[in-house]
């Protein structure tokens, strides 16, 4: 290590990895990972969320999992919980939808209404 810049580079890299351990002011993405979710392909969805967050260096969101919420026909699905507690449920996810949710909801703070459970029920 030669300079403060080198130190900062290491800090930023390690910080990203450790940001998972902060609980305040975070958007939580919760992927349904019960049997129904996994069978419908929830695991690649979760991996896609992780990959997308990593790619964009987003520290402000974390990915966790939950069980079955009872609407198995909409799996794979996820909830996005904003820092203020607002909850948006996205359904029938695929890798493309994941990218748009991260870009529009997590980054730009605009829920993608077209993918929500409300849009499907209408």
């Amino acid at each position: 290590m030669k300079s403060l810049k080198d130190l900062e580079a290491i800090r930023d890299r390690a910080k990203q990895e450790m940001s998972l351990r902060e609980t305040e002011n975070k958007t939580r993405i919760i992927v349904g990972m019960a049997t129904c979710g996994i069978a419908a392909g929830a695991r690649p969805i979760m991996a896609a969320f992780n990959q997308e967050l990593e790619l964009r260096g987003l520290h402000s969101a974390s990915v966790s999992i939950t069980g079955c919420v009872g609407v198995c026909r909409y799996e794979p699905m996820c909830d996005v919980i904003d820092p203020n507690g607002d909850r948006t449920t996205y359904i029938n996810l695929d890798a493309g939808k994941v990218r748009r949710i991260v870009a529009e909801h997590i980054v730009n703070r605009r829920p993608v209404t077209a993918f929500t459970i409300g849009a499907a029920e209408r």
Partner: protein, 596 residues
Amino acid sequence: MISRTHVLVCGGTGCAASKSTEIMAQFEKHFLAKGIEKEAKVVKTGCFGLCEKGPIVVIYPEGATYANVKPEDVKEIVEEHLLKGRIVKRLLLGDTEAQDVARSLENVGFFSRQLRIALRNCGVINPEVIDEYIARDGYAALGKVLTKMKPQDVIAEMKKSGLRGRGGGGFPTGMKWEFAAVQKADRKYVCCNADEGDPGAFMDRSVLEGDPHSIIEAMAIAGYAIGANQGYVYVRAEYPIAVQRLRLAMDQARGYGLLGKNIFETGFDFELEIRLGAGAFVCGEETALMTSIEGHRGEPRPRPPFPAVKGLWQKPTILNNVETFANVPVIINKGADWFASIGTEKSKGTKVFAVGGKINNTGLVEIPMGTPLREVIYDIGGGIPNGKAFKAVQTGGPSGGCIPAAHIDVPIEYDTLIALGSMMGSGGMIVMDEDNCMVDIARFFLEFTVDESCGKCPPCRIGTKRMLEILERITQGKGELSDLEKLETLANSIKQSALCGLGQTAPNPVLSTLRYFRDEYLAHVVDKKCPAGVCKAMMTYSIVEDKCKGCGICAKRCPVDAISGVVKLPYRIDQGKCIKCGVCMDSCKFAAITFK
């Protein structure tokens, strides 16, 4: 891929003793079995402070805190929490009542009242990974002082912060550094006192185990401030985990060029070495510690000259305690004004206490100076177990004294504790309830000092021994009223004449208990009674005739045949033969035997 979940497992000495290493291995094993080894990561951390509830496991991003985890619980945690996202409520820390939400560390009463500066990284980072320390602004303070500050600026900042020595004495750290900085010498040294010896104290061990890099960084900063290029950490060999992690941390720091030659290309060199102590209490005294580093028998020498003038190998030396050093990088990063805004007028910042004894939440707490003792005992410590009454708290170890229940609202700071005849000390806090005999407590601490006296000066070598003999006499019911006076006279002359700090403070536990609990001493010497029921010599086992059914089981069990009687009639204990082992009391089915 970045892991989606971090499983933090405490790797401190306390939790390691209750199988946290095996718990980590179990997690790794079950990750593999479930194919989630790439998503989940086990992080070994330092002490969380809640040793009573250990081993502690914290799972992020939920922040769910599990307590008293056993290796066999791991499978359930992996299957339920990590695979299905269902928190295992029965293992959650906190109230046993049903909880719908994950309780994160910050929400638990034990943590919410604490302010963690010295312990900022303990239980948060993996102490064996330097990058995790750097992620929390580690080594940024060293970078800042080397590139942007002059040595005198660093000292000015330390003085302004108001930081005082956390090892016991409470000497202003900035002034100590200044004394050494103004000395002209070809070599100077920085020493870290990690020879934590007070019974029940483990603050320094926890910092070394949980955040070793903070000590390395702070010592390099101190070296720059006073003009030293060599540091020594004097740590006791009884702390194997601390020593191993410190060694590893030093290797990693060297690998990154944060120790060694030309740090940050500023031309500043700093090297660090570890010296292992054999665990003698006296080696925590600064002059004895330096004598021991030099390779001699650990004995103190008179001061002056003070170490800042003539210390290690007759060169100017500063010696600070682990916790003091742990505060330094934060003060540099956040500024002296920030630090000085915490605490009270004369005691700035926070203090770490190892709370033990008769208290529910045994463990490590860090509180702002000025926090009332009551808050530590009841709000953080969770009060006294089994509904017993709080009697006193012992602070400052064998050099300190007792604070009785009447003073429980005292704000904790250096000067208030000294005014009460106790002291901050290194931060051991032993809580006592109504079942503790204060004479016996004084005897216990004096026995410790007698054992640990190095023998160099007669007041300590002979004086404390004589005091102990008097105390033993009192606890055996052979004391006289004049003994109390003798104790006080001896205590005061030892205080005035002993060579080093240890001898000078050795009588404190006796003086302080005499001050606040004189009635207990009087009960021992005048009434020949131990009110708390601890001093066995003054107690007798006896059989209550009304309750005795004459079954004879006690007589059968008594190892010295002290009990005799006729079946179906009350039995009797021959006090001349009784050795007070208590077997009769344990064997009686009718609670007919008393001990008082």
